[in-house]
C-alpha cells in the first residue's frame, strides 16, 4: 500500500481520543448505560474526579432561562456489524490489526474489482429493523454516496438512499430512577445498510498522512432517530438502549471506545410554544454515553444563552466537536449549503428482495429484547433499579434468567448478582461470563441458605470460592463440613461451655450489662466454626442467659 504524502489535509480528529471519560456524577450510568464489563468498572474509578466538572455556561445559565426553551434532539448512530467478513468482500476485520493487513482488491477499490453483498449484513439489518419495530422494505437497493476523501477508496460509499431496508419504528426506554424514572418512546426514522471508510493516520509533523484501509468496507447500520429527545439524559439513554439492543441481537459488540457504535447528535433549541425549529447543529466525537449527555447539555445552554441574548443569528448550521478535556463543543466545520452527494443506484449490486418466509424466520429467531425483559422483570416484583441493572447487560440478564430458571428466589438472586457478585466482578475486572460461578450453583446456593442447610455468612464464603475457583455448592459444603448445626442439643452444649468458660462476663451480663449477649453469641459461633444456626443460637443463648438468674 502506498504511503500517501500530502500536506495540509483538513482532517477531523474524530475517534482519535483514546477513550471516553466516564463521569460518575450520574449514578445511573452504572445501572443502565454502563456495562458490567471490566472497562467500565475500572474507568468509573479513575474518572470519579471529573464528576465535578460542570460546563461553565451551564452554571451561569439560570435554570429559569432554560425552562423557557425546549431542545429538539435527534441522533444518527452508526453500528459496526460483527460479521465474520466485510460487507462486500471476503476480508475479515479485527479492530486494532496492523494497518492494511486485511484488504483485497475489492475493499481497496482497485480498478475492475466489484462488490458482492454479504448476506449476513441483510440478515442483521432485518434483525435490527424488527427489533426497532420498523416496517421493512421488501425491495430495497443500494446507492452510491459520492465524495472525495483519502479514506474512501472508491470515492463513493455504498449506502442506501431513498429505499432504506427499514423505516418508521420506535424504541422504548426506561429513564433511570435517579433522574426521576419514567418510560419514553422515541421514533426511529430509518435503518440502512452501508460500508465503513478506512482510517487516516496522521504523523506528528503533519507532513504526510497514511491511509489504513482495514476498516474500509466493514458493514455498518445507520440508525436515524426522529427528533424526539429533549434532554441529554434522554439522548444518552436512547443510545444506551440501542447498544443494548444490538448486543442482545448479537449483531455488534456496540463498543463505543472502539468506534463500533458512534453517535452524531443533531440539536436545536426553540422558545417553548414556538412551532418552527431553530437552527440545527451537529455534534461529533461523542465517545461515551456520558459525553453524549454532557455535550448536549452544554450545547443546549450555549444555544439558549445566545438566543436569549438576542444573538440567535450566531447559532449557525455547523458541525461541532465535543472536547472531552475542556468539556465543551467547538466549531469543526461550517456547512456551506447542503453537500451534494450525487446519489444514484449502485449498478454493481442487484436489488435486495426479502421474502415473507425469510423475514418470518428471522422474526422467530429474535431473542427476548431489553424492553420485553424489563417488563418481565418488573412483573416479577423487582424494583425499577433492579430491573435496569439486570437487563442492562445481556450476559448478566442471561445469568439472572438461568439462575431463576432453577426456581431460585427472584429477589435473592437479584440481590446476590447486584451485590457480592457485581462487587467481585468489579474488583477482579471480570465479566459475568468470566467468573467461575454458574447460574445453577448460584441457584443451589440460594436454596441452601433459604433451606437452612448453610448460614448466609457461610453462603457468602462459598460464593467467593465458587466465583474464583468454581465447583459445586454441595461439594464445598461436604468438603469443608459446612452444614449448619440445627441440632438444639448440640448448640446447647456449646452455649453451656461458653457460659462456663466465661464466668466473669456472665456475671457482668446478669448484673445488667446485657449487650454482652453479642459477645457470647460470637464465642458460640466461633466454637461452632460459624456453622451454628444463628437464630437458634440466639434463642438458646438468651434462654440460658436469662433463665438461670
Amino acid at each position: 500500500m502506498a504511503l500517501t504524502f500530502f500536506r495540509g489535509i483538513k482532517t477531523c480528529p474524530l475517534v482519535h481520543y483514546p477513550s471516553a471519560y466516564f463521569a460518575r456524577k450520574n449514578g445511573f450510568f452504572y445501572c443502565t448505560t454502563g456495562s458490567t464489563e471490566t472497562q467500565f468498572a475500572t474507568q468509573e474509578k479513575q474518572q470519579s474526579g471529573d464528576s465535578k466538572v460542570v460546563p461553565k455556561t451551564y452554571r451561569k445559565s439560570p435554570d429559569k432561562l432554560l425552562k423557557d426553551y425546549e431542545a429538539i434532539i435527534g441522533i444518527e448512530t452508526h453500528v459496526q456489524l460483527n460479521t465474520s467478513t466485510k460487507a462486500f468482500c471476503g476480508c475479515p476485520y479485527s479492530y486494532g490489526a496492523q494497518p492494511n493487513t486485511s484488504i483485497c482488491p475489492v475493499c481497496m477499490g482497485l480498478p475492475g474489482a466489484l462488490p458482492v453483498l454479504n448476506s449476513k449484513v441483510v440478515e442483521y439489518a432485518v434483525k435490527l429493523g424488527l427489533a426497532l419495530n420498523c416496517k421493512l422494505s421488501m425491495d430495497s437497493k443500494f446507492d452510491r454516496k459520492q465524495y472525495f476523501y483519502p479514506d474512501l477508496p472508491k470515492a463513493y460509499q455504498i449506502s442506501q438512499f431513498d429505499v432504506p431496508i427499514a423505516i418508521g419504528g420506535y424504541i422504548d426506554i426506561d429513564l433511570p430512577v435517579e433522574f426521576g424514572g419514567g418510560h419514553r418512546k422515541f421514533g426511529i426514522t430509518r435503518v440502512h445498510m452501508e460500508e465503513d471508510a478506512g482510517k487516516l493516520l496522521h504523523t506528528g509533523t503533519g507532513n504526510y498522512s497514511q491511509v489504513d484501509l482495514n476498516r474500509a468496507g466493514v458493514p455498518l447500520l445507520e440508525i436515524v432517530s426522529e427528533p424526539d429527545m429533549r434532554t441529554g439524559i434522554e439522548a444518552a439513554e436512547y443510545a444506551a438502549e440501542l447498544q443494548r439492543v444490538v448486543r442482545y441481537l448479537g449483531v455488534s459488540n456496540g463498543n463505543m471506545q472502539e468506534g463500533s457504535l458512534r453517535c452524531d447528535v443533531n440539536i436545536s433549541i426553540r422558545p417553548i410554544g414556538q412551532q418552527e425549529f431553530g437552527t440545527k447543529v451537529e455534534i461529533k466525537n461523542l465517545n461515551s454515553f456520558s459525553s453524549v449527555s454532557r455535550a448536549i447539555d452544554f450545547e443546549i445552554s450555549r444555544q439558549v444563552q445566545l438566543h436569549s441574548q438576542g444573538q440567535a443569528d450566531q447559532i449557525v448550521q455547523e458541525t461541532r466537536l465535543w472536547e472531552e478535556g475542556a468539556q465543551k463543543t467547538i466549531t469543526m466545520r461550517k456547512k456551506e449549503g447542503l453537500s451534494d452527494y450525487r446519489y444514484f443506484p449502485e449498478p454493481d449490486i442487484p436489488g435486495v428482495t426479502l421474502s415473507e418466509e425469510y423475514v418470518d424466520g428471522i422474526r422467530s429467531s429474535l431473542p427476548e429484547l431489553p424492553e420485553i425483559k424489563r417488563r418481565r422483570y418488573e412483573n416479577m416484583g423487582l424494583s425499577m433499579q433492579d430491573v435496569l441493572f439486570l437487563a442492562n447487560d445481556i450476559n448478566v440478564a442471561e445469568f439472572f434468567d438461568a439462575t431463576i430458571a432453577n426456581a431460585a428466589d427472584v429477589k435473592l438472586a437479584a440481590n446476590w448478582i447486584m451485590g457480592d457478585i457485581a462487587a467481585y466482578m468489579k474488583n477482579e475486572k471480570l465479566s459475568i461470563s468470566e467468573i467461575k460461578l454458574t447460574p445453577l450453583e448460584l441457584g443451589e446456593l440460594i436454596a441452601s441458605i433459604k433451606g437452612g442447610t448453610i448460614s448466609g455468612k457461610i453462603g457468602k464464603e462459598i460464593l467467593f470460592e465458587l466465583m474464583a475457583k468454581g465447583g459445586t455448592v454441595q461439594g464445598l459444603i461436604k468438603e469443608k463440613d459446612l452444614v449448619q448445626i440445627v441440632d438444639r442439643s448440640e448448640i446447647e452444649k456449646m452455649v453451656d461451655k461458653v457460659l462456663a468458660d466465661n464466668p466473669e462476663q456472665l456475671k457482668q451480663y446478669r448484673g445488667g450489662k446485657t449487650k454482652l449477649q453479642g459477645y457470647f453469641a460470637g464465642q458460640v459461633m466461633k466454637a461452632s466454626k460459624g456453622k451454628a444456626n444463628p437464630k437458634l443460637l440466639n434463642q438458646i443463648l438468651l434462654e440460658k442467659l436469662n433463665t438461670e438468674t
Partner: protein, 529 residues
C-alpha cells in the same frame, strides 16, 4: 459499391500473410483459395493441426508473433506485447502436453489479445489512460483467468479509447490504432485494438468490451466478427468499469465459430460479480454445422425483423444496400422477413450518453492519485486530487465525467438521469415486444464504414451519432452479433460493412447459429452479385 472481390476476407488474410501491409492501400487482385472459400474457425483449425501433430504450438505462436512484429509499427493495435520467450514457454508447455497425450483446453495454443481495460496480473492494465500508466493489477480478471484455464496464450494488451470512451481509439492516452483495411482510417472503438489485431491476424481471437457498441462497431469497421453477450453472461470482475450497468466483455474473431468458442470459455456465473447470471450455458459449438451438411433452406421458419429506424437518412446508402442484400440472402436461407418499428430508437442515444456518463463519473472517481496510478505532488489535498486527475485523464474522459457529474447533481437528477432510466425501460419494453414476434432483429452495425483518422475527432456529436445502431442493445442488456455482410469501395480502399443481429436475452445460441449459416453461405450472395 460492392467490390468485385469474391471474398474480401480471404484477400485480407492472404495479403497479410504474404505482402507487406502497405499494399493494402492499393488493393491488388485477390487470390481466392477455392478449397476454403468460407471463413473457418481458426481455433478449430489450430486444434486440429496440433492434435494431428501437423504443427506445434510453438510454430503457431512464432507465426503470429512474427506477423505481429511486422505489422505492429503501422497498426499500433497493442499497448503491451508479451515477451516472446514467455509466449513460447506457454506454447512449449502445450506441446509437452500434446506429447504426453494430456488433456488440452479448448483454446490450447490459441493466441489471444486482451483489451487493456481488462485486468491481467502479469501485464500492465492501463485502460488506455495515462492515469494508470504502468499500473499492473494484483489479479487476473475472471475472463482472463478463464481464457488461461482453457489453454489460451495472452499475447498482449490491445489499444482502446481511454476507459472505453470513444469510437475510434483516437481517445487512447497512448496511440491511435490504424484500420488494417486502410491505414489512414480508424479501426472503430473503443475495442479498436482488439478488432484490428484479429483483422490483421496479430492474434487469433481477442477480448473486447462493449458498453455502447465498443465490440460491434470496430468489428464492423475491421471486417471481423464481434459478439456482445447478454449482460451478465460474462463476469465483469476485472473489467475496469466505465458504465457498470452497460459494460459487457465481448469476443472478437475471424469467424462466428471462433467468437462462440471464446464465449463458451469465458461465460458463467462468478461469485465475484453479483450481476453475473446463473443462467445455464448451452454448448455453443453444437451450432456450427459445416456448410456441406446444410440443406437449401437452413433457416426455414426463422423470423427476422428489420429495424426500420436503422435504415433512414443519415445512414450511408452503401451500408443500407449491403443490409438489403443481407436481407435477401436471409430470405434465400428460408427466413421470414418483416419490418419492425421502434419508435423509441432515437431516444436511446441521448439516454445512453446520460447513463453511461453518469456511471462513469462515479466509476472514475477512484482515480484520485492517492492509492495507485498517476500522483502529482501537491501541498493541498484538493490540489492533489485536481492536478492528478487533470494530468492523468484525457479530454474525452473529462468531458464525460463533467456531463455525468452534471446529470447526477441535485436539481438535475430527475431531468436527466431519471428520465434516461425511463427511456431505458421503454427501450427494454420495445425490444421485448419486437423479440416476441421475431427470433432476431437485424440492423447495420454502424451507420457508415470506417472513416478517416481525425475526421470526427473535433466533432464529438457526430462521433456519438455513430453509436446509434448499437447503444439500444446495451440499454436492453441483449446479446448481439456483428459479422461482415458486404464491402464498400471508398476511393482506392475496400472497406467492410457489418451486419448486426440482436437476439433475446441469453439466446446467444440462436445468434451464433444464424450468424454461422449466414457466414458460411455468404459466398453465394457475393457470387450472385
Amino acid at each position: 459499391m460492392l467490390s468485385s472481390i469474391q471474398n474480401p476476407r480471404l484477400l485480407r488474410l492472404s495479403t497479410l500473410h504474404q505482402i507487406p501491409l502497405r499494399c493494402l492501400q492499393t488493393s491488388t487482385t485477390p487470390v481466392p483459395t477455392p478449397s476454403s472459400p468460407q471463413p473457418t474457425s481458426q481455433i478449430l483449425r489450430i486444434r486440429k493441426s496440433l492434435l494431428s501433430r501437423e504443427t506445434t504450438a510453438v510454430e503457431i505462436a512464432k507465426t503470429f508473433l512474427s506477423r505481429l512484429r511486422r505489422t505492429e509499427p503501422q497498426l499500433k493495435s497493442f499497448l503491451y506485447v508479451s515477451p516472446e520467450d514467455g509466449v513460447l514457454k506457454q506454447a512449449e508447455e502445450i506441446d509437452r502436453r500434446i506429447q504426453n497425450n494430456e488433456e488440452l483446453g479448448p483454446l490450447a495454443g490459441v493466441l489471444a489479445g486482451v483489451k487493456d481495460n481488462i485486468c491481467t496480473s502479469d501485464m500492465p492494465s492501463t485502460a488506455g489512460s495515462k492515469i494508470l500508466e504502468n499500473y499492473t493489477p494484483p489479479y487476473d480478471a475472471t475472463a482472463v483467468k478463464k481464457l488461461r484455464e482453457n489453454g489460451a496464450i495472452i499475447v498482449g494488451k490491445t489499444n482502446l479509447d481511454e476507459f472505453g470512451m470513444g469510437s475510434t481509439t483516437e481517445a487512447s492516452g497512448y496511440q491511435v490504432t490504424a484500420n488494417p483495411w486502410d491505414l489512414s482510417r480508424v479501426p472503430g472503438g473503443s475495442s479498436g485494438g482488439s478488432a484490428a489485431a484479429v483483422s490483421a491476424q496479430q492474434c487469433a481471437v481477442s477480448l473486447g468490451t462493449d458498453t455502447g457498441g465498443s465490440v460491434r462497431q470496430p468489428a464492423s469497421f475491421c471486417g471481423v466478427v464481434g459478439l456482445k453477450p447478454t449482460y451478465g453472461r460474462v463476469s465483469r470482475y476485472g473489467l475496469v468499469a466505465y458504465a457498470s450497468s452497460l459494460d459487457v466483455i465481448g469476443c472478437l474473431g475471424s469467424s462466428v465459430a471462433d467468437t462462440g468458442i471464446v464465449l463458451q470459455a469465458v461465460s458463467g456465473h462468478d461469485k465475484f460479480d453479483a450481476t453475473s447470471s446463473k443462467q445455464g450455458i448451452p454448448n455453443f459449438a453444437s451450432q456450427f454445422i459445416p456448410k456441406d451438411y446444410l440443406d437449401s433452406k437452413p433457416l426455414k421458419g426463422l423470423r427476422v425483423g428489420v429495424i426500420r429506424e436503422t435504415l433512414v437518412d443519415g445512414v450511408d446508402p452503401d451500408v443500407i444496400s449491403s443490409l438489403q442484400r443481407s436481407v435477401s440472402h436471409l430470405e434465400d436461407l428460408g427466413c421470414t422477413i418483416s419490418e419492425v418499428s421502434f419508435p423509441s430508437f432515437s431516444l436511446g442515444l441521448p439516454a445512453y450518453y446520460i447513463l453511461a456518463s453518469s456511471e462513469s463519473s462515479s466509476n472514475l472517481a477512484r482515480y484520485d492519485g492517492v492509492r495507485f496510478g498517476n500522483q502529482v505532488f501537491a501541498d493541498e489535498l484538493s490540489t492533489l486530487y485536481g492536478d492528478s486527475r487533470a494530468e492523468g485523464f484525457g479530454s474525452e474522459v473529462k468531458l464525460r465525467i463533467l456531463m455525468g457529474t452534471y446529470a447526477l447533481s441535485a436539481g438535475y437528477y430527475d431531468a436527466y438521469y431519471k428520465r434516461a432510466q425511463q427511456v431505458r425501460t421503454l427501450v427494454q419494453k420495445s425490444f421485448r415486444a419486437a423479440l416476441e414476434e421475431n427470433d432476431v432483429l437485424i440492423s447495420p452495425a454502424a451507420p457508415s464504414v470506417a472513416y478517416k483518422i481525425g475526421e470526427k475527432k473535433n466533432d464529438p456529436l457526430a462521433m456519438y451519432a455513430g453509436d446509434i445502431m448499437t447503444v439500444n442493445v446495451n440499454l436492453a442488456g441483449l446479446p448481439a452479433l456483428v459479422l461482415p455482410c458486404g464491402f464498400v469501395e471508398e476511393g482506392s480502399s475496400v472497406l467492410p460493412v457489418g451486419l448486426q443481429m440482436i437476439g433475446a436475452a441469453f439466446d446467444e445460441e440462436s445468434l451464433l447459429k444464424i450468424g454461422h449459416i449466414f457466414e458460411q453461405t455468404l459466398q453465394g450472395l457475393l457470387e450472385l452479385l
